[in-house]
């Protein structure tokens, strides 16, 4: 060993950003800022208007109906989504060789980002008055009357979105059961009932409250689905009532009161779920499980599983296929017409101009919050970052947007500044999902690697560069794609701040649906999905690791 090298090696050269403060403070400040923004947004509404009496919630018939309908549709959506997700997840676990299984899994993951307004147009294409299935059922059983609009369509679309998400998380939970236990169950030839009692239920029970809380919150705060399939006093949710108060009645006080009620209800649900030891991830992981042959996956049970999975696949594919089939002619004619084609391009550019910065800031914010949360999980700092991570699920984006608009109004003058606000709120709304995507890979370093890195002084920037980045590259790209996709498909805050003359793609779609340009709307829906897939493909490409080694071996040695 050359002695010159031994003596010239510095013991611990300083790594950039290795001071623990760099890990803690930026994220903590950001999390605090998020809490201040959320509190400030809500507070601004209270400040700007006279608050109605709380009793108005039960005295006013409209508000009473809104509140009870919101609770009812969310509860029903949770129950039906879980009732469908549980057998689907079990069937997927039992059938590792089901043809097209991996495609089905990707389709289920997509449910997080398929723009609601596009999915709704697909649902209308299948289950609407002129939809495929409705026509078919009417031919066979004319006595059956079905109306998509109202509670039926709302719950159906909520199940379309949430059952796949729940099933994917439940499947991941089942795949996390240690493989030796599955092997023992296989060797003992346990029946389906015993597998459920001995392995599946004990694994699923702890994650169910968290999934139920997640679905409840998503359905409780649902906006675009209610706007398109609901409406009217009989089928309006709190979120839509808040929108109406802000946009049409200019009743900030009522909006603030309703937002507080929403925050209290969703917050209580999350609090209850966390008391039950909620540990699941909001976003399913992508772990490849070993395939263990199972007795309860063969025979009649196996046939039933395949039938269920086939039906579920059709349930997911049919609306998307409707969008594609109905959209293609509309899209071709839109793109070939100079006027409408130009409008679509403008909408696409505007959407991307909002979504890409929103996605990037969401990912950056998530990394900072996670770093801060990782360096201190205890005490007030830990609570601040944990609360900031889930708050966007509960605070209505419309309230946040309007509140911030009111706070910043003296400075905000033109539409483009309102659009910056849209981007900011979109990035905040994507934060809980992005956080969950990055949390696992960022915390996934094994203890042996941590010890080595500590001893070798691989700290701060160097630790990120050599240990975290190679593992984070793909999840980072996926998180960017998800966050950008969520913002691309947003039809919430943009409905409030967007200008009808300069629409984003979802706003253009909504305008076309509203003016009964169904062919053009279908084309725009297909275009939105295409842009979304292009964004995913691009980030997937960027997330691929380079093939070259890091350090070259000198040739002269």
């Amino acid at each position: 060993m050359p002695e010159s090298i031994r003596s010239s090696t510095p013991r611990h050269p300083d790594a950039p950003f290795s001071n623990p403060g760099w890990q803690l403070w930026p994220g903590l400040l950001l999390a605090s800022l998020l809490l201040i923004l959320a509190g400030g947004g809500l507070g601004a509404l209270f400040w700007q208007a006279e608050l109605p009496r709380v009793a108005v919630l039960w005295e006013n018939r409209y508000l009473r109906n809104v509140l009870s309908f919101t609770l009812w549709q969310a509860t029903l959506s949770v129950a039906l989504s879980l009732l469908l997700a549980l057998p689907v997840a079990r069937a997927l676990a039992r059938q590792p060789c089901f043809p097209g299984r991996s495609l089905l899994l990707r389709l289920m993951e997509l449910s997080l980002v398929v723009p609601t307004i596009v999915a709704v147009s697909g649902v209308v294409g299948v289950y609407g008055r002129q939809g495929w299935l409705t026509t078919l059922v009417n031919d066979w059983a004319p006595a059956l009357s079905w109306n998509l609009y109202g509670i039926n369509g709302i719950v159906l679309t909520h199940v379309f979105f949430n059952a796949p998400l729940a099933a994917r998380i439940l499947l991941q939970t089942l795949e996390n059961v240690p493989q030796p236990q599955w092997r023992i169950a296989s060797q003992l030839g346990l029946s389906s009932g015993w597998v459920w009692r001995a392995l599946e239920w004990p694994a699923l029970r702890p994650v169910l409250p968290g999934i139920a809380a997640l679905i409840f919150t998503l359905c409780f705060t649902s906006f675009a689905i209610i706007m398109t399939l609901g409406g009217g006093p009989a089928a309006t949710t709190l979120e839509v009532a808040i929108y109406q108060s802000l946009r049409f009645d200019f009743d900030f006080g009522r909006a603030a009161l309703l937002a507080t009620v929403q925050l209290l209800i969703c917050g209580s649900v999350w609090w209850l779920a966390s008391r039950r030891g909620m540990t699941h991830a909001l976003v399913p992981g992508r772990q490849v499980a070993e395939q263990v042959p199972r007795k309860d996956g063969s025979g009649l049970r196996g046939l039933w599983d395949r039938l269920l999975l086939l039906t579920f696949t059709l349930f997911l594919i049919a609306p998307l296929a409707a969008v594609a089939l109905r959209g293609l002619p509309g899209l071709v004619s839109t793109l070939t017409q100079s006027g409408s084609g130009g409008r679509l391009w403008d909408a696409t550019l505007l959407s991307l101009a909002i979504a890409i910065p929103a996605g990037a800031s969401s990912v950056l914010a998530a990394l900072l919050v996670l770093a801060s949360n990782g360096s201190t999980q205890k005490g007030i700092p830990g609570q601040i970052s944990a609360t900031a991570a889930y708050l966007p699920l509960m605070v209505p984006p419309l309230v946040l947007g309007t509140g911030l608009f009111l706070l910043l109004r003296p400075q905000l003058g033109v539409t483009s500044e309102g659009l910056i606000l849209v981007g900011l709120i979109n990035s905040i709304m994507a934060l809980p999902f992005v956080l969950q995507m990055l949390r696992g890979p960022l915390r996934g370093l094994d203890i042996a690697s941590i010890h080595q890195a500590d001893q070798l002084g691989i700290l701060g920037w160097y630790r990120w560069r050599w240990l975290h980045w190679p593992r984070m590259r793909r999840p980072f790209a996926l998180a960017m794609a998800y966050a950008t996709g969520l913002s691309l498909g947003d039809f919430g805050v943009i409905a409030l701040f967007g200008s009808p003359e300069e629409p984003t793609i979802p706003v253009l779609l909504y305008q076309q649906l509203g003016s009964y340009q169904m062919a053009a709307a279908a084309g725009t829906g297909l275009w939105l999905i295409t842009v979304l897939l292009a964004v995913f493909a691009l980030f997937n490409l960027l997330g691929r690791p380079p093939a070259t080694a890091h350090l070259r071996e000198p040739e002269h040695a």
């Binding site: 060993m1 790594a15 010890h451 001893q455 070798l456 700290l459 920037w461 593992r471 350090l551 040695a557």
Partner: protein
């Protein structure tokens, strides 16, 4: 001189805490042996700074190390396994031991290549750890430890599970390091390793 004075440690719920008190002179090897759970690895982790003692002191050349973080201590560990970063090639794994940002001088790069030749791994610098045998991986880990030239080597069963040839080579490397003045603290179940390498044996 490395001195361990009245070092006390217990895991949560452990009724009888461990108590360590010893010193080791430069250029010598202290071997520790004992049954599983007797505290061998715990002692090495305490010395490395991966665990925090309840009380007591660790001193190097008269200076207390007990409040220093792992990267501030004059020590390098070699474990039985998981010594390398699996996603980085051999050269990078060793290079990170010389500079945590991999900013290596030409001289340091040359030293790594020469070191690889010395330990019989010439030409394997671009291999990933998964492409090496257990013995080769351990040689890489030991080479990195030796190139780091920290005066104390903490060895937690580094030769366990290796074939005879790899074991002989590793022993030779460790003896060379000891002759150059390093302190070796070796946790080992193997009597032959202890008799070849150790100047003192401590039964836990």
């Amino acid at each position: 001189m490395l001195e361990v004075r009245d070092l006390i440690f217990a895991y949560p719920g452990q009724l009888r805490p461990w108590h360590f008190d010893f010193s080791v002179a430069p250029g010598t090897c202290l071997a520790i042996h004992g049954a599983s759970g007797s505290g061998k690895s715990t002692l090495l982790n305490l010395l490395a700074g991966f665990l925090e003692p309840l009380s007591g002191d660790i001193r190097w050349q008269g200076e207390s190390l007990v409040h220093r973080r792992p990267w501030q201590r004059p020590m390098t560990s070699v474990f039985q396994e998981h010594n390398l970063f699996e996603h980085l090639d051999v050269m990078t794994n060793i290079g990170l031991g010389l500079h945590p940002g991999l900013k290596l001088t030409a001289e340091q790069q040359l030293a790594i290549t020469q070191g690889l030749q010395e330990v019989g791994l010439a030409g394997l610098g671009k291999r990933m750890p998964a492409e090496l045998s257990g013995g080769q991986r351990q040689r890489v880990a030991l080479l990195r430890a030796m190139l780091r030239s920290e005066p104390v080597l903490l060895l937690d069963e580094p030769l366990t599970g290796l074939d005879d040839e790899a074991r002989q080579l590793m022993r030779k490397m460790l003896l060379k390091s000891k002759a150059a003045g390093s302190i070796l603290i070796l946790a080992s179940h193997d009597e032959e390793d202890r008799s070849v390498l150790a100047d003192n044996v401590w039964n836990l």
